[in-house]
């Protein structure tokens, strides 16, 4: 088990470097750079800048230098935000995204799991149809529509919560709901399908034949097998939730990582883009590893060498 984890952790390094390389390649293939704005720079200044950032050297020298720095976890300074290192910027904005993401994750799990389990237990009931219809709706409404609707109703009509910006618990409510909706819907459907499959299985019939109560049958015998599909979904989902979602952060004016990420791309702020890409890819791989490890705890048939 320990060997397995160690192996997977080590693999993360070359994988992250590969992702960074591909991203760097894409940025370089696109025409223009940070300095090729609308205003043409005087040739002397441009030559200065080119020299300072090593842009006059061949591409492989630039690439090698960048990779060498990244291996040492130094992503350099942002081009846009002069004098601020990429690491600083990421750590400043990540907590906003992580707070909202983690809350949304917990909300989505709470709603999704309970709705899915109840729907599976009362298959073809009013609750089943109702919650699954709602889940379909949740999956179909994009969050850039849901967000503004929530703002309209709860902020502008009812004045219950602030419409945007960061400040106090009340300002978290709408973005968290907006973010959680789609995940809750997806988890509900996964849970229902997983539970239905397990509840039809032979060993559940055995459990009932023993005279166990429905509660014991459900919690002790059915739940573990039923939520395995949910687990494989929620690992990567948590990673992308924590990393911030552009739309929700934009709609609610939250200074999160997602917003900074998109801006860095528009600004052609290469070091910042690469830094965030590396950070996100590591985050996703770590959570995938966490999912794989948790399989081992959920299903005794899975053992890692």
């Amino acid at each position: 088990m320990l060997k397995f984890i160690l192996k997977r952790l080590i693999i993360i390094i070359p994988m992250a470097l590969l992702v960074v390389t591909l991203t760097w390649g894409l940025i370089r293939i696109a025409p223009g750079n940070f300095y090729s704005g609308e205003k043409k720079l005087p040739p002397a200044i441009e030559a200065n800048i080119t020299k300072k950032y090593g842009l006059d050297k061949p591409w492989y020298v630039q690439y090698g230098k960048m990779m060498w720095n990244i291996v040492q976890l130094d992503f350099g300074d942002s081009l846009k935000y002069q004098g601020q290192s990429v690491n600083e910027i990421i750590w400043r904005h990540f907590p906003y995204s992580a707070t909202i993401g983690l809350l949304a994750y917990m909300l989505a799990l709470l709603i999704g799991l309970s709705a899915g389990i109840i729907a599976a237990l009362k298959q073809n009931s009013l609750f089943d149809y109702g919650s699954m219809a709602l889940a379909m709706l949740g999956l179909s409404i994009p969050n850039f529509v849901l967000g503004p609707i929530l703002v309209l109703v709860f902020s502008l009509w009812l004045f219950w919560v602030p419409p945007a910006r960061w400040g106090g618990i009340s300002s978290l409510i709408l973005p968290v709901i907006t973010l959680a909706a789609i995940y809750a819907a997806y988890i509900a459907r996964l849970t229902r399908a997983g539970m239905l499959e397990v509840l039809r299985s032979d060993y559940i019939r055995t459990a009932r034949a023993k005279g166990l109560s429905e509660k014991t049958v459900l919690l002790k015998h059915a739940l573990r097998g039923g939520i395995i599909p949910v687990v494989s979904f929620t690992g990567p989902a948590l990673a992308s939730l924590l990393a911030g979602t552009v739309v929700v952060e934009k709609v609610f004016a939250i200074p999160g990582l997602g917003k900074i990420f998109i801006e860095s791309v528009f600004n052609r702020d290469e070091p910042l883009t690469l830094g965030i890409v590396a950070f996100l890819s590591i985050l996703i791989m770590v959570f995938n590893l966490a999912v794989d490890i948790s399989y081992g705890f959920l299903d005794p048939r899975i053992r890692y060498e």
């Binding site: 032979d202 055995t206 009932r208 034949a209 023993k210 005279g211 109560s213 015998h221 005794p300 048939r301």
Partner: protein, 340 residues
Amino acid sequence: MNEKNGTILSVNDLKTYFQTEDGVVKAVDGITFELKRGETLGIVGESGSGKSVTNLSVMRLIPEPPGKIVNGDIIFDGVDVRKLSIEEVRKIRGKRMAMIFQDPMTSLNPYLKISTQLMEVTQLHLGHSKQQAYEHAVEMLRTVGIPAPENRIDNYPHEFSGGMRQRVMIAMALSCQPELLIADEPTTALDVTIQAQILELIKDLKKDLGTSVILITHDLGVVAGMTENIIVMYAGKVFESAPTKELFATPANPYTKGLLKSVPDPAHEEGKPLYQIPGLPPDVAHLPPGCPFAERCERAEDICEREFPPFVQINENHHSLCHFAKEVYAESINQGSTIS
């Protein structure tokens, strides 16, 4: 408890139907039988004849919907199981009547240790403490012939072979010394060599514990040496019911005769092709008005297609569902026994 030779289970005109997109499937349609204490009843029939549904009905384990017990009494030790609330049924299930299933590979929970799955039965029904339940579970595994049970009890089902898992299922079913054990094709999914061991085990345990057993199978060879009485089911109906010896010696139903002829008999028929009943069992969602077996029956006449056959009494314990039951019975007597 009743006196020693009382009736433990009597099922009377049981009907269990399933609502499907194809219409109503009459999986069990008017089954009647009786099981005395300490005896073994064999229920024989092809796949889909309703033998499993009959017994799931007895345990009240029919999934509702789509299934429903629409008629009949299921009297277990003087109490009609159908009239009990589900909580009361749960107190009987696993404690006084237990069931072992066909496929031991899927009937044990793959996510839980064997110990957990065994212990929960006695903790629930006998009020065992964890310690007591654990010791009892080890003892049960020893009883069913699992070597070094104290080392194996905390294993997971996937660490056991098929035969061992079926032994675990039997240990689980017998944990509370039930009065009735329903074995639903307990050997079908196992290797032939293991089959004999498992049957022998059930036979021994039945003798030691005095449990009454219902043995469901499609294999007449299995029931021959183990049962006092047999009922033969076809298309949700009892086609013939008789004491085991009599059924084998003098069957009174063409379907039973067909089944008996399809049992391989190496002593007399070496080299000859094995007999098989022509055709397939009927679709129970669309049964003809007459005898459901008529289509496949060697001696079917016009009346068989038109009219549903009567349940003819041959003697006190021998009944057959056939227009020509008495004639078939007479033929059997003349031919002498096929299997002694």
